[in-house]
């Protein structure tokens, strides 16, 4: 269907040439679902954009054959005709991919008119038909609605309808479900799968979510730093990864662990794409690295079950799980003092103004939480359920409309100025976005030292010494004291945020989605750090996340939130094994996890292609 041979993409920038994709070959079989997995920066999206001619400045070499023609040498006009008509595209963010000023229907029919000469009525009929197919009820009426009148999941359905309406043989979906909630995500994936079977469309799906791919993909390609690391059928790759990188990725995903276990993280971080290492791109992070890995390009190994791996190892790796760390004990102690008591907290905003009728928008509807010292409470819910708002109410940043928040037995609402300032030392927040929560114009030393400055705890050399000590604690190099946040990777920035939260020895740390912006391998590092800090320092965590696997892994107890209410609160394992609430069951059913690894089975090395991917 689509075949790429020796595809390389390099993008010239001010800092030098970025080697985004290096000598990648693959072929997509008709009617299948081809998955491309990789962490951010692995070149997976850039590769597809280059294939479709959407990167005018990039230097693309190799060849990509689609319907007998080489897409890379096709004139722009012909490529433009192909896009949409023969190759459909679905993008990550349905909100920014839909034009806010045109109705849904107009945008879909525009796609039809761009490629075919049909009457407006016929185009409309086809669009309505397609909208019905992708599960939009009342399609004829909703045809004239605007994107903002649709929910996120509905918008993604519209995007899928738009991509499918011309019935293209190939669809490229770039992270189609990343911006969506878990329950919606499951529906969208099911829809894509169903459409593929009904219409016989071939789907290429790009994602970072291995769990998702393992459930739907027929074939997968794992990419790392622009290289194709592993390629093979989905079952073979996920059950018995042959490349250490794939194995490491699967090992660092928290869903493969029982609660409380130490995750096996991949150390380090991906190489800079400006200067690729001479040998294997993964060598410096690889647990199986041999001396020659760092200096020579690995050969391509082909195994008996069709799996191909770019590695010096002749046999597939053993599952890393065998050597996992022992289960550590829980920190929770039923007799420990209560740190936080949230009692029937409600929050509502007044809506309507001078001219319209005044109303009330309720965000939190009576929340009760109790958190003991040394405990981790997970707060799970979909976007818009009020979990982040609750975090800000507990942190004292938003006053509650009614009810009380007691920290160390003191009511937040009744604090005077000095008491409020004192309370700021006791509760700390770690934010979701490691890029937005650090001031880009201040040095890391100043950012971590902020709590000391604001509370006049330490100054001068003492402050510097303490900051460097904190940096050491969270695993940062203290010599990087004078750097700016932009010089750190996402995972390192989240460590900076944690160091800042630790500075004043708080009673409670609230983590607001601390790892959802990070890659799987980095996520495991940060989760491990959080765990070891908790054990060393006896910290109390409130952990907010939408990711059930992560929450289960870290938390003692879990509260499930839906529409401003806590619908279920129980021990972490109890939630998983015996969910009481319907909503909890829906959430659990929707989360997809990669299958457990089974060991290498009967796989044999059949062929080694030396130096082929140079």
């Amino acid at each position: 269907m689509l075949e790429a041979r020796h595809l390389s993409v390099s993008i010239p920038t001010e800092d030098g040439t970025i080697h985004a994709v290096q000598d990648v070959s693959f072929s997509v079989e008709a009617g299948g679902l081809f998955g491309i997995a990789g962490e951010s920066g692995s070149g997976k999206s850039v590769m597809m954009q280059a294939i479709l001619g959407l990167l005018p400045f990039a230097d693309v070499t190799g060849e990509v054959i689609f319907e007998g023609r080489n897409l890379l040498t096709l004139p722009p006009r012909q490529l433009q005709k192909l896009r949409g008509a023969r190759i459909g595209m679905i993008f990550q963010d349905p909100l920014s991919s839909l034009h806010p000023y045109y109705s849904i229907g107009a945008q879909i029919t525009e796609a039809i008119h761009a490629h075919e000469k049909v009457s407006p009525q016929a185009a409309r009929a086809r669009a309505v038909d397609m909208l019905t197919k992708v599960g939009i009820g009342n399609a004829a009426e909703r045809f004239d609605s605007f994107p903002h009148q649709y929910s996120g999941g509905m918008r993604q359905r519209v995007m899928i309808a738009m991509a499918l309406v011309l019935n293209p043989p190939l669809i490229i979906a770039d992270e189609p479900t990343t911006a969506l909630d878990v329950t919606v995500q499951a529906q969208i994936v099911a829809l894509l799968d169903q459409m593929r079977k009904e219409l016989g469309t071939t789907v290429v799906m790009i994602t970072h979510d291995l769990g998702l791919l393992s459930n739907v993909a027929d074939q997968v390609m794992v990419m790392y730093a622009g290289n194709r690391m592993e390629f093979g059928s989905s079952a073979a790759v996920f059950h018995a990864p042959s490349h250490p990188y794939t194995a490491g990725l699967l090992a660092s995903s928290p869903s493969n662990y029982a609660a409380g276990e130490e995750l096996v993280a991949i150390p380090g971080r991906p190489p800079s794409l400006l200067h690729m290492p001479a040998g294997c791109a993964f060598a410096v992070r690889c647990a199986y690295a041999m001396p020659k890995c760092a200096t020579q390009r690995p050969p391509l190994r082909r195994f008996s079950d069709g799996v191909e791996s770019l590695c010096w190892l002749e046999a597939p790796v053993e599952p890393i799980h065998a050597e996992r760390a022992a289960v550590s004990g829980r920190n929770a102690d039923a007799t420990a003092p209560v740190v936080l008591k949230v009692d029937n907290v409600e929050l509502s905003f007044a809506t309507g103004g001078f001219f319209s009728k005044a109303g009330k928008y309720e965000v939190l509807k009576g929340i009760d939480i109790e958190l003991r010292r040394g405990e981790t409470l997970g707060l799970v819910g979909e976007s818009g359920c009020g979990k982040s708002t609750l975090a800000r109410v507990i942190a004292g940043l938003i006053p509650a409309t009614s009810g009380s928040v007691l920290l160390d037995g003191k009511d937040m609402a009744t604090l005077d100025h000095a008491g409020w300032k004192e309370m700021r030392k006791r509760v700390q927040l770690v934010f979701q976005d490691p890029f937005g929560s650090l001031n880009p114009r201040r040095r890391v030393g100043a950012i971590i030292g902020d709590p000391f400055r604001l509370h006049q705890v330490a100054s001068g050399a003492d402050r510097k010494w303490r900051v460097q000590d904190l940096m050491e604690t969270v695993g940062l190099n203290p010599e990087h004291y004078n750097r700016f946040p932009s010089e750190f990777s996402g995972g390192q920035r989240q460590r900076i945020g944690i160091a800042r939260a630790l500075a004043l020895n708080p009673a409670l740390i609230i983590f607001d989605e601390p790892v959802s912006a990070l890659d799987v391998s980095i996520q495991a590092q940060v989760l491990n750090l959080m765990r070891s800090l908790q054990q060393e320092l006896g910290l109390t965590y409130l952990f907010i996340s939408h990711d059930l696997a992560v929450v289960r892994q870290v938390c003692d107890r879990i509260a499930v939130m839906n529409k401003g209410k806590i619908v279920e609160l129980a021990e972490a394992e109890a939630i998983y094994t015996d969910p009481q609430n319907d909503y909890t069951r829906t959430l659990l059913a929707a989360s997809v996890v990669p299958p457990p690894q089974k060991g290498r089975g009967t796989r044999q090395l059949v062929e080694t292609i030396w130096g082929a991917p140079a």
């Binding site: 690729m276 390009r297 030392k425 927040l429």
Partner: protein, 313 residues
């Protein structure tokens, strides 16, 4: 693989200042503008040296050599490189001293206006509510006052002087900066790092100065640079109308006014050409530099131009 040879590659981490300078130098127009401004500053600073070298004071009237027998100004020659004006004064020396006035007024007025604009804009944007309402309406009010009329009235009451010129210019030019800063602060205030600071217990003043101000450096640098030519032209206008620098002290606006009086420029083109060109190139240079600075400091504003597809490996 072409780049990774035998030596282990090192990724050069360029500092933002380094990157900015590299972008600025690559932009030819900004570079020329910058060099012109440096030369102009040197020319203004060296005005007494120019005076000593030529031997003509800016206010001395050379009735014997500087005026023709009919009392008309002398065209550029060996003694008067840029000619003389209607009173027989050396245009070159007056131009040098005039540059001092123009730059002084331009830079001082812009800095003062920037300071007021930043303060007001920051307070309005950060505090919001009624503070914002009052300050924003005050800015609207000032922007709608006819400045020449107001300047005329002020000068007729207090009499022309350098400090009054600067005061009038500052009063009428800080509002642009104020509005820009207010908008920026309004969006910065909602950023997560400000919330992070607040959750650590930082007060409003601390957040404004420590967290927000450093993030405003780009608009501050760019708009202050762009305000300088405005102030220079403003001063020239005031002097041209006789409301600015008091004669016989030289200023570019005053020189142009002298040239216009009695239509003397009809016989002495150099009286209009040299001060006019000086004014034109100065304002043009500052404007180009400001534009270049904006591009250099905020690379997202303009895509990087890269060499077309070429060398295949």
């Amino acid at each position: 693989m072409s780049t990774s040879a035998t030596t282990p590659p090192t990724v050069v981490q360029r500092s933002s200042l380094d990157l900015t300078l590299r972008r600025l130098i690559r932009d030819r127009a900004s570079l020329v503008a910058f060099i012109f401004i440096v030369l102009l500053v040197a020319f203004a600073a060296a005005a007494p040296l120019v005076e000593a070298w030529i031997g003509h004071s800016p206010i001395e009237q050379f009735r014997q050599t500087g005026l023709s027998p009919t009392g008309l100004p002398v065209a550029p020659n060996a003694e008067f490189r840029l000619g003389t004006d209607q009173l027989g004064r050396d245009v070159l020396v007056r131009l040098a001293y005039g540059a001092r006035v123009s730059l002084l007024v331009g830079v001082v007025a812009s800095l003062l206006a920037a300071f007021i604009g930043i303060t007001v804009g920051m307070l309005a944007g950060f505090l919001g509510g009624w503070v914002d309402a009052v300050l924003s309406r005050a800015m609207d009010l000032i922007m709608s006052v006819p400045f020449l009329l107001c300047a005329l009235a002020l000068v007729s009451v207090f009499g022309p002087s350098l400090s009054l010129s600067i005061g009038v210019i500052v009063f009428f030019s800080w509002t642009t900066m104020g509005r820009v800063i207010r908008g920026q602060v309004k969006s910065l205030r909602e950023r997560e790092f400000v919330q992070a600071s607040r959750s650590l217990g930082a007060g409003s003043l601390s957040i404004m100065i420590v967290d927000i101000l450093p993030n405003l450096s780009v608009p501050i640098i760019v708009y202050t640079t762009m305000m300088i030519p405005g102030s220079i032209v403003f001063e020239a206008t005031l002097s041209f109308l006789g409301l600015g620098i008091v004669p016989p002290a030289p200023s570019w606006g005053g020189m142009l006014a002298d040239a216009g009086a009695n239509s003397i420029y009809l016989v002495a083109w150099w009286l209009v050409l040299f001060p006019g060109l000086a004014l034109l190139f100065t304002t043009l240079s500052f404007n180009i530099l400001g534009d270049g600075l904006r591009d250099a400091l905020d690379p997202k504003a303009r895509p990087i131009r890269v060499k077309p597809k070429g060398a295949k490996p």
